[in-house]
Amino acid sequence: MRPAWVRRRPPPALGVAAALLVAAFLAYAIWGFRAAAVAGFAVRSCTPLALAAMCGILCERTGVINIGIEGQMLLGAFAGFFGAAAFGVVFGVLAAAIIGALGGAFLAVCAVSWRVDQIIAGAVINIVAMGFTTFFYRPGFVIGSLPTWQIPLLADLPLLGPIFFRAQPLAFLTFAVVIGLQVTLFRTTWGLRTTAVGEHPGAADTVGVNVARYRYGNVMLGGALAGLAGAMLSVEITGSFDRAMTAGRGFLALAIVIMGRWRPMLAWTAALLFGLLSGLVNQLNFDQVIDVPPQFVAMVPYGTTIVVLAVFSTRVRPPAAAGRPYP
């Protein structure tokens, strides 16, 4: 028996994912190498988005709107990179998670304890992150990007292998986080209480659920994930840090949260769609099938976001208490 808040909106995630897969296999059969390249690009570019979207889901499901994901990612990218350059990769990644969580703690203090407008608190995170990382930025450091891990046997599967079973460490972590969140949100008491806190904090409070504690916990956990998503950009994928290198991905993640209807797997699928689209345009451009300036190619995700939000955001319902302080 699935709990109600799962059942009410049958997740089309599986359907969409299956359709994508079939399409991908067809394309693979016809264009072989290219389809694999597009799919690989799609997964690599969508994974940081997916992880950042998990932050959005965690926060909004407990009733806190986090528009500071962008800033938390940037802080994570920064701390991750320089941490890794100075003390090694493991330290860098941990530093990214911690600084992201600190950003979350700031948001939680503002939103939960001080009842500050959550949009303003989130904007503050973005501004501070931008200023901080730009100010302390020192060019000239380089580290290598992270190695790619392969899962034996599975990595040799056609198409699927290179996409899901040949990836870098934080990408694997993302897969685990998405699946883990899907299970815990919909199958555990923690998930039930989180939903209650985000939908009707009063009801949760009167039966002994500590609303503030849940909000602090989830917002900080979400912040850590956003920080890791940032580290994925700097430490894992490029091996370098650039000013404002998150380039609006934190905001894309918010759009993905909406498209994914606040469900981890569905959001992941949505992120994958984003990735596929940019991958496709990239490849077409590379093959000179179309010829547009690279700036326009880079605009694809943002343009898509506008269209998607225009279509989706009126039809889906966010958690009822999102954005509202309690009590």
Binding site: M1, W5, T189, L192, G208
Partner: protein, 512 residues
């Protein structure tokens, strides 16, 4: 001091001694003393603002008493939160339910004390627990139904089961019947009797004397925060209780002359309106209301009454049909324009549509004409004029408020209702749409509001009255339109109609 106070009998589950609560200069409760026994249904009765809800809030840990003590099973307890209270076995069902709308009945019931299996939430066990409780106490609910799909009466049952699941032995119901239909009310009274039978002590707050007489064992009457009566229900009657409450005899029926209806003011033809979920709720409804008459709308809840009222008052778009007000089609007009044409509206939900909670009482009393002389001159509000006017209305309608500059949301429920009624009745209007005008109002004030509605009629106002109370409809209406499935099933002359016929038509008996 009597014996029972020295050594409370073993069956006294809750004892309150000298409980006092002040809000600034207002003494909401003053040395309240009462006892609740195991398996007893105790009615708490009192005028609007007498201090009932405040007492309840102290009993469930939402407010700290300024003086006095609360004893549960003989022990003095300090309750700091509803959590504390439920830990001691006291639970309350407020008028605004504390349920998560998107979750199921079972999930709502077990929230905070969930059964688990191998670390995961055990949905099956939760449903089984709910089923067991609902069988044991005769409270039929479907554990897997989603709460937002349930009617109000059902949601209330979920709240009661929630309390029982947490082992409540004392259950407090604050005006539980104010939002229920008559059938749901009967059902609730049956449930309450059943719970008492099984040993739960119940405090039942209501303004409806019939419910007190039918469903309770003992009555405690509060006036101005003091206990002025503590009697066995069997030893009293409605008139006696009303007099004890108000401090004077209350006339429980309305005197009115026969109506002298004039021209048709409101003419509705073929009206179709959607409900919130986009389903057709009003389906081709025809209705006429004439000047100088009160037309009552009777019907089982959710048969399109709300949508009808909101469509007339421009709060909801219509899908088809015409609404003509004094010879003019009002399609496309907004609330403000209608208001300027002389439509007054007492909305069914005072907190949502009737008042601005954060405004002063005075401001709410002029909300329908704050921008007109004498309350506004050259775009500046004239507070002296507003204050004078507010004082007058507060006196006329007996609104119990510490001052005209009190925040409206600090008023008791019934007094808020009186603010809305006073405002809407104090402006000359052509059409008055009154939805549940006396919801939550005490008997003394009901009498006054009823007189005012009849007076408006006699001045030539067309009154459309929607009420869940058949009593009220029969007391006030000149004609009664019975609404069923979004259509008018019959229009009856109120003098010759009987409750039985109206009830039968409401229920959809053959022949109509």
């Amino acid at each position: 001091m009597s014996d029972s106070e020295e050594q409370p009998g073993a069956d006294v589950v809750l004892e309150v001694r000298g409980l006092t609560k002040r809000f600034g200069p207002v003494v909401a409760d003053s040395e309240v003393t009462l006892q609740l026994r195991r398996g007893e249904v105790l009615a708490l009765l009192g005028e609007n603002g007498a201090g009932k809800s405040t007492l309840v809030k102290m009993l469930v840990g939402l407010l700290r008493p300024d003086a006095g003590e609360i004893r549960i099973g003989g022990d003095v307890v300090r309750l700091r939160s509803p959590r504390d209270a439920i830990g001691r076995g006291i639970a309350v069902v407020h008028q605004h339910f504390q349920l998560v709308p998107v979750m199921t009945v079972a999930e709502n019931v077990v929230l905070g004390a969930e059964p688990t299996r191998r670390g995961l939430f055990d949905h099956r066990k939760a449903a089984a627990e709910v089923r067991a409780l609902s069988q044991r106490f005769g409270l039929a609910v479907e554990p897997d139904a989603v709460v937002q799909d349930l009617p109000i009466g059902m949601q209330q049952r979920v709240e009661i089961i929630k309390a029982l699941y947490r082992g409540a032995e004392i259950l407090i119901l604050d005006e539980p019947t104010a939002v229920l239909t008559p059938v749901e009310t009967d059902e609730l009274l049956r449930i309450v009797a059943e719970l008492a039978e099984r040993g739960v002590g119940i405090i039942f707050i209501t303004h409806k004397l019939r419910e007190v007489m039918n469903g309770t064992d003992r009555v405690v009457v509060l006036r101005d925060g003091r206990v002025v009566g503590d009697v066995a229900t069997a030893d009293t009657d409605e008139a006696g209780l009303a007099a004890l409450m108000v401090g004077r005899p209350v006339v429980l029926h309305v005197d009115k002359e026969p109506a002298t209806p004039g021209a048709t003011v409101l003419e509705i033809r073929g009206l179709e309106v959607d409900d919130d979920r986009g389903r057709l709720a009003v389906r081709g409804l025809d209705l006429d209301v004439r000047a100088g008459e009160i037309l009552g709308i009777a019907g089982v809840q959710d048969n399109g009454q709300r949508e009808l009222v909101e469509a007339i008052c421009a709060m909801r778009p219509r899908r088809a049909g015409t609404v003509v007000l004094a010879g003019r089609e009002v399609e496309g007009l907004d609330v403000r324009a209608l208001h300027d044409l002389g439509v007054a509206h007492i909305p069914e939900d005072r907190d949502k549509h009737g008042l601005v909670g954060g405004y002063f009482v005075a401001e709410n009393l002029v909300l329908n004409r704050f921008d007109q002389a004498p309350f506004s001159r050259w775009g500046r509000r004239d507070f002296a004029a507003i204050q004078r006017w507010a004082r007058q209305l507060i006196a006329d309608f007996d609104v119990r408020t510490p001052s005209v500059y009190a925040r409206t949301d600090a008023l008791s429920g019934g007094n808020k209702q009186k603010v809305v009624v006073a405002r809407e009745l104090s402006r000359e209007s052509v059409l008055l749409v009154a939805a549940q005008p006396t919801r939550g109002v005490d008997v003394g004030s009901i009498e006054f509001i009823h007189q005012q509605l009849v007076a408006a009629r006699d001045r030539g106002v067309a009154v459309l009255l929607v009420s869940a109370e058949l009593e009220e409809l029969f007391a006030l209406s000149d004609r009664i339109a019975v609404i069923r499935e979004g259509r008018v099933a019959a229009v009856l002359d109120a003098k010759s109609a009987t409750r039985e016929t109206v009830g039968l038509i409401m229920a959809g008996a053959a022949g109509h």
